[in-house]
């Protein structure tokens, strides 16, 4: 599947919830989506188009918490980044681990390091900071010193 086809497919399915698309170098695309629909979009990518979930990367900016969900199309090496922006005040998003086992660890990790809440996570235990880190202190935020 060429990246133009991918954009077409995702747009035809979720037209109202796609906030923007950006072609990066060669075979990389970033699609900016509405965070409220991430579960449906990820389900579509994983179950319908059969993309492989690589990982999710969160980062903290002035705008809020941004998460990139990286999906790989192994037939041609394309990487599609699904981007969402969560507000500072309420960094909450539906958990992909509800249907995707591969997202389990990374969501728990993001919760511990950034303080993003993943709603309906099936296994919301601590992954890396059990018993050795203060509650409510998130080391990967930009304001952490």
């Amino acid at each position: 599947m060429r990246r133009e086809e991918f954009i077409e497919k995702i747009k035809s399915e979720f037209a109202d919830h796609i906030l923007g698309t950006e072609y990066l170098r060669a075979n990389r695309v970033t699609v900016n989506v509405d965070p409220d629909f991430i579960l449906d979009i990820a389900k579509f990518l994983h179950q319908k188009i059969r993309l492989r979930f690589i990982i999710a990367s969160a980062y903290h900016t002035k705008a809020g918490f941004e998460i990139l969900y990286h999906f790989s199309d192994d037939s041609n090496g394309n990487i599609y980044n699904i981007h969402v922006l969560l507000p500072h005040e309420k960094p909450e998003i539906q958990s992909l681990a509800q249907f995707l086992v591969a997202a389990d660890w990374i969501e728990r990790e993001m919760h511990e390091l950034f303080g993003v809440t993943f709603l309906n996570h099936p296994n919301p235990e601590k992954l890396i900071s059990e018993g050795n880190w203060a509650e409510g202190v998130y080391p990967y935020r930009k304001d952490f010193n």
Partner: protein, 397 residues
Amino acid sequence: MSEQKIIPIGPYHPLQEEPELFKLYCEGEIVRDIKWETGYNHRGIEKLSESKSFDQSFFLVERICGICSTSHPFAFANAMEEIVEVDIPDRAKYIRSIVGELERIHSHLLWVGLAGHFLGYDTVFMWAWKYREPVLDLFEMISGNRNSYAMFKIGGVRRDIQNDKLPKIRETMKFLKKKTDLLTGAVMDDPVIHARTKGVGILTREDILEYAAVGPTARASGVDIDVRRDDPHAAYGMVDWKVITSPEGDVFAKAKVRLLEMFESIKIIEQCCDGLEKLKEGDIETVVKNVPAGIGTGHYEAPRGEVFHFVKTIGTNSPARHKIRAPSYVNIATFKKACVGQTISDATISLAAVDPCYCCTERMAVAYDYSTGKKVLSANELIKQSQKRTNYIKRNI
């Protein structure tokens, strides 16, 4: 229902490469569930990278893993080169692939040796590690180090492989081909290894897709993915090689995939040597002056599977965010599928097959004398025996 017992493996164990705790919930000999705990040694490398310059970050990511110490810089370089939009010279591409494939050979040999050791087959362990030495010697010749080679930088490589070093590389490859052949034959034809590994720790194709597992773990279950072929970079698109897959999904298939991959690596290295001979020495980098703001996603097929680096830059001299996903991060989770239903003795090799973060029994065995109720051999007595042995050897040298 019989009572469930927990067998802990880790968190710190001399044979484990990383501190992790596996809890095997067993009923008699059968493993019914497995739970794991990580985070004992979280180094915060992603955060640390934000305080380093791009050049320094290469040395940092190289130290994530001692065994695949070139895979992380490889993926990081791919991510950075996506941001700066630079094409690297052909000579640098060949050198990158040579270093990457040499690493794959030594990593796979290390795994085969460890797997043999844990099966109680120490001959395989001795052989594999013996033949791994010439690869490390090559690394020493190329980079000055047996490990942590510091070869990568944005736009190319730091050191050239001069053409007069190529005959030595070719000679070692020829030697390795012969020895790998011997090792492969010995492992694949051995009835004991067949009995211990065939049908053990099976991961189906669906399991792999569900857990998004990568590398030899995925390929041994018939999932045909390899970043080197799917998203060609360095010299992988310029040489002839093939991706090894096997549909069975058991431990034997994983061993087979790794062993056969070594032949492909040798093939790639030989072709890269041919390529280097035709090129002018010294042309090893494209100078990059500025790194603009942007995001880069780089991946590379490490010996254990796809390494993924995400970098966000904001026009400064260091990453604003650097996310790293090592292959074990997704592969370890498949333990749950591979180990449950196995016996305890097969659980250890199932864990080893998925990933070399390995385990064995954590505790020392203490024997009690029934009649007196006293320990036959206490910890101190064991230490004393060990010291006695050392003294004996010292005296007789």
